[in-house]
Amino acid sequence: MSDLDIQLREWVAEACRYPPGSPARQRYLTKVIRVVSNKLWRESVAYYQDALQQTWVYFCKNICGGYDPDLGSVATWLNAYLKRRLQDFYIDTQKRRNNEISSWQDKDGEVVDITEGLADERGDVEPVWEKVKAWAEADPDGELQRLHIEGHPEVTCQVLILRRLLSETSWKALSEEYGVAIPTLSSFYRRQCMPRLRKFGESEGYVTS
């Protein structure tokens, strides 16, 4: 058994001395993931990262109780699981290849839905940014033009929302243009503009909170 394997066994034993969700267990699991990730089986298929994520979920849920160090190293145990998941994904994509008409796969086996990208889920034609722009310019309540940074009536909510739309104007450029420090600008934006943008998002049905 290599020094690394001994180290990993110790970390696993340490992790399992603490309850799930405790920082000590989290810390030791993180150490194991960091080191073992370099020793896992690799394949260049589109679903590889999905199989790997499932493997890490399995590792964190089952390492304490489900792993017997006498039967092999942590990497060996996880590789066996990872290969089974890769096999599942392979079978799954083969099935879909045979059954689905609206989908096709690229050479790596990734499923590509050809309906994707034609319209978003809400069936909108108008992009979000155009809606925001139209709303901010129209300012139906007059609120966006009324609220401004103290001592700077020209730096209103409306101006900041429109200038920051699509991150087009940097905070530095705005700071130089208006002679207002960046923290003052961004703090006003965060307190006054962002809540109104969130509310607009909710009223347009983008958020379900």
Binding site: R27, V132, L165, M194
Partner: protein, 310 residues
């Protein structure tokens, strides 16, 4: 790979689901630069969410600005809400970048900044580390602390009861100079210093012969004023009124704002919740000198607790 620079980097997968979601959000943006920003922000958030799931740390993606198409378009945010903790900012960097951009709109209202290196070619991400605070638009990656320290930091925020100063209400009634200075150090101020005259609504009708102080309470990106009004009663009993008022020119308290009075052992004595139509909330209790209670104020996943001794 990171050329061995970041010895505590943690390599994690970027799943197909994450890539599809990030691309769908990016497709909403009209310029290639903005599309790339939204795609990388989304990937950084989703990889961090996957890591939090592995660590058994709950997340609330739908409550995060990074999940809101309007906020994606208007701001450069990559936040991930952690219930009971706050918003964790997940900043993406591309391979070989040595500095991480931290936009000014994310400088406040964050419990930390985790930096995620996103390699779209290898479909791998690396959690490079974190910093607890940021005040500059550029963060040198050499300042980062390890992912293990992030875990400890989040745990402390979630569970460790911060040793809070007990605000002594009887001393307000005695009103000595030393106690006055103590109150100011704890953040208590005259009501007029916390609320403007227009915010002192008509409902604000406190009693004569009572002592009152106010404190600004910050809950995520919103704030309210807590006003405490104490009146000495008979038999060493004090009557205490606790009110919440909107600040920052808001006409009403935010909907969902909750206020509760708890006993020393944490049981709720009385509580109230704002629906969005109230310009103030009020709770009243009586207590004897030496009794302890606390006021818990919650808004979404943010909470503030103020502890008192009568």
């Amino acid at each position: 790979m990171t050329h061995g620079t970041y010895e505590f980097a943690l390599t994690l997968p970027i799943t197909q689901g994450a890539r599809r979601t990030a691309q769908a959000f990016a497709n909403q943006q009209p310029t290639p630069a903005k599309a790339e920003q939204v795609r990388l922000n989304t990937l950084a958030v989703l990889v961090t969410q996957d890591y939090m799931q592995l660590m058994d740390i709950p997340t609330n993606l739908p409550g995060s600005d990074s999940w809101n198409p309007v906020m994606q378009t208007c701001t450069d945010v990559a936040d991930l809400e952690l219930p009971g903790v706050g918003r964790l900012e997940c900043r993406p960097v591309k391979p070989n970048e040595e500095r991480c951009q931290v936009p000014a709109e994310t400088w406040e209202d964050r419990v930390g900044y985790v930096v995620v290196q996103v390699d779209e070619v290898s479909q791998e991400a690396q959690i490079l580390g974190f910093v607890p605070t940021a005040q500059d638009e550029e963060l040198p990656l050499s300042d980062l602390r390890s992912p293990e320290e992030l875990l400890d930091h989040l745990y402390e925020l979630r569970y460790s009861p911060v040793e809070r100063a007990l605000t002594n209400l009887s001393s307000w009634l005695q009103n000595t100079l030393r106690d006055g200075q103590q109150a100011i150090a704890e953040g208590w101020q005259a009501v007029e210093q916390v609320l403007t005259s227009s915010e002192l609504s008509t409902a604000y009708a406190f009693r004569r012969n009572s002592i009152r102080q106010a404190k600004r309470i910050v809950l995520g990106d919103q704030a309210v004023a807590l006003v405490v009004d104490v009146q000495a009663g008979t038999n060493s009993q004090s009557e205490i009124r606790l009110q919440l008022h909107p600040v920052d020119d808001q006409p009403n308290l935010p909907p969902g704002l909750q206020m509760a009075i708890l006993t020393d052992s944490g049981e709720v004595v009385i509580d109230a919740e704002a629906t969005g139509n109230e310009d103030f909330l009020e709770l009243q209790i009586d207590g004897a000198s030496g009794e302890r209670f606390s006021v818990q104020i919650r808004l979404n996943s943010f909470q503030d607790t103020q502890a008192f001794v009568i």
